[in-house]
């Protein structure tokens, strides 16, 4: 299966990735390689095999319903300004560019 640059652009847009034309070209080649691998795997006869949703055949461990985490707002929000791209804080709220549907 071969992907087109338009496919790559669509996936990039869904993932909110900004890509240059050169990047799209190289991503298309890499992704096509992955699809080729999948095509190869699809040739394997899997009749009668129950699909697994996880690589390990184990099941989910559960937590008791107990509150174990206290208020760490001050700690988390004091960290924010030290990292590039992290949101501003005001009145306890994280601030992001305005979003209105």
């Amino acid at each position: 299966m071969s992907l087109t640059n338009a496919d790559v652009r669509k996936v990039a847009s869904l993932a909110r990735l900004g890509m240059t034309e050169t990047e799209i070209e190289s991503a298309r080649e890499q992704l096509s390689g992955i699809f080729d691998l999948i095509a190869e795997m699809q040739a394997v006869d899997t009749n009668g095999i129950t699909p697994m949703s996880h690589a390990q055949d184990v099941t989910q461990r559960l937590r008791e319903d107990v509150v174990t985490e206290g208020d760490q707002r001050e700690l988390f929000q004091s960290l924010a300004p030290q990292y590039k791209g992290s949101p501003q804080v005001e009145a306890g709220l994280y601030l992001v560019p305005q979003v209105i549907e």
Binding site: L14, R16, S53, H54, Q56, V58, T59, Q60, R61, L62, R63, E64, D65, V66, V67, T68, E69, D71, Q72, R73, F76, Q77, P87, Q88, E90, A91, G92, L93, Y94, L95, V96, P97, Q98, V99, I100, E101
Partner: protein, 511 residues
């Protein structure tokens, strides 16, 4: 608007399905140990998992799974022995991971059914029962909240709600009117509170409904549906559906086309309007979440949960009809919420005999366990008690009159100590000042006169003082009977036992 829809109904069929998000009443979040208490200061209940710090991992809350199992059992659904969590990918600031953990092709609860009692809106149509199929119910996490308009050009994000456990309950498109959709939502609302998995607080968003609406020509192919999002009151649901249905019919009759869309209801204008136009943008790219292993529910766990289920509303309703001889309608009202049903049963049974079920079915006199007529009790609850609650804006559990107080009073009506009129006074006094029926009856001298000698004396006096009317009565003017009853009641200060008085009057007037 509503009437127009009903008149046109034969030409158009309405098809409605619901998706309901119920917030599960756990103490902690679905994938972390942060608190779920409503109304805390912004972000004070947003732990490292809720704000999606890199490297954190989700650990599933047993209490959330238990509640999902409870619901599944309550609607007779298949509980998946193995279900899988999936990532639903989309971008919005109140979802810091960039995906919501939900379930997709392997949900925890499979197909079930819910029986609803529909009260049609149009004048004289009778209430009827309908079985609505539930497609599935799955566990997922709630998103945070966006706060708009605080700062210019910025949106504030509060992640306290992020990670609150939700059970999304999806119905088949089995409803064909706003009344049916509302009845389904109300029944579901009552059920999740009944089994204690959700507090049902609609103002706080604990029970949110999305309604899918389409119209079609009878027998024709399904029309294109529009989804009304986030309805948080039954009244708005009713209005939104009525408006939407009419809009779709008008659009089609005017040669227009319906496009699939998500719409919002504007409560001020009473209208719906499309929210997102780019439907193709909703490509959620679901895939199994590699951070979570499959959820396994053993037969044993399922049976443990089943043992904790209370008697369900439908079973209770049927029992009320069968054992107490109540009408299906009255039984439906009494089982509309667990609080009302509990009140009813407690009022029927004085405290010393709490075994309602056993007693009721083994009692030879089915209608009156504990000496209180079930029908009388039902009438008082549906009538006087609920009217007073409405007047004072109270819920059943806030009633100032306890079931024991009411039961005590009903006993005095049943055994003839007080008349219905006097009971109303006793009830009003209980409501306002408290106290038990017997002491109020005593203090106010409301005891009915059932001494036939005393009643006869009154009747004799009246007959003697109204010889002309007696003659008229005896010459065939039957209507005068009421006049004599009135006089006798007045003379007894309203305390004469009405049945006895009637008998004695009849006998004496006959001469």
């Amino acid at each position: 608007m509503i009437h127009k829809t009903i008149v046109r109904a034969p030409e158009w069929e309405i098809v409605i399905g619901l998706e309901v998000h119920t917030q599960l009443s756990t103490s902690s979040k679905i994938f972390s140990g942060a608190s779920t208490t409503y109304g805390a200061e912004p972000n004070t209940q947003a732990d490292a998992v809720s704000i999606a710090l890199p490297g954190v991992l989700p650990v599933l809350n047993k209490g959330a799974v238990e509640r999902a199992i409870k619901f599944g059992l309550a609607v007779g659904a298949h509980i998946a022995p193995r279900s899988v969590f999936a990532r639903k990918n989309y971008f919005y600031p109140d979802l810091p991971k960039g995906y919501q953990i939900s379930q997709f092709d392997l949900p925890v609860v499979g197909q079930g059914v819910l029986t609803i009692l529909v009260e049609p809106l149009s004048g004289n149509a009778k209430p009827y029962e309908k079985v609505v199929r539930i497609t599935r119910a799955h566990l997922e996490e709630d998103a945070g909240k966006s706060v708009h308009g605080e700062s210019q050009g910025l949106t504030g994000v509060d992640l306290n709600r992020a990670g609150t456990p939700l059970l999304e309950i999806v119905s088949e498109p089995d409803m064909s009117s706003a009344a049916e959709a509302v009845a389904y939502a109300k029944t579901l609302h009552s059920l999740v509170r009944w089994i204690g998995i959700c507090d049902g607080n609609m103002q706080e968003g604990s029970f949110r409904c999305d309604v899918n609406v389409s119209v079609r020509r009878p027998g024709g192919p399904l029309g294109t549906r529009r989804e009304i999002k986030n309805l948080n009151s039954f009244k708005f649901m009713q209005q939104a559906i009525d408006y939407e249905v009419q809009w779709q019919i008008d659009t089609l009759e005017n040669g227009g086309k319906i496009h699939q869309a998500t719409v919002l209801f504007d409560a001020d204008k009473g209208t719906t309007h499309a929210m997102r136009s780019k439907e193709e943008a909703h490509d959620y790219r679901y895939f199994p979440d590699p951070d979570l292993l499959p959820l396994e529910i053993s037969e044993e766990w399922k049976e443990q949960v089943r043992a904790t289920l209370p008697e369900l509303p439908e079973a209770k309703r049927n029992r009320y009809v069968k054992d107490f001889g109540l009408s299906s309608y009255d039984a439906g009202i009494l089982t509309a919420s667990r609080e009302v049903a509990d009140f009813f049963e407690a009022a029927l049974n004085p405290p010393q005999s709490p075994l309602v079920r056993g007693e009721a079915s083994s009692s030879p006199d089915k209608g009156r366990p504990g000496g209180v007529e079930a029908k009388l009790c039902a009438n008082w609850l549906i009538g006087e008690v609920s009217a007073q609650l409405n007047r004072d804006g109270l819920e059943m559990q806030q009633s100032p009159v306890t079931p024991q107080q009411l039961g005590g009073m009903l006993k005095r009506i049943a055994d003839g100590t007080i008349s219905n009129a006097a009971a109303k006074e006793v009830f009003r006094t209980m409501w306002a000042e408290g106290g038990d029926a017997d002491s109020i009856i005593e203090a106010k001298g409301l005891k009915q006169v059932s001494d036939s000698g005393a009643i006869e004396a009154i009747v004799d006096e009246i007959i003697a003082a109204n010889a002309d009317k007696v003659a008229e009565y005896r010459s065939g003017k039957d209507k005068l009977f009421g006049f004599f009853v009135g006089l006798a009641m007045k003379a007894s200060n309203g305390k004469a036992n009405p049945a006895q008085l009637n008998d004695i009057l009849k006998k004496k007037l006959a001469g």
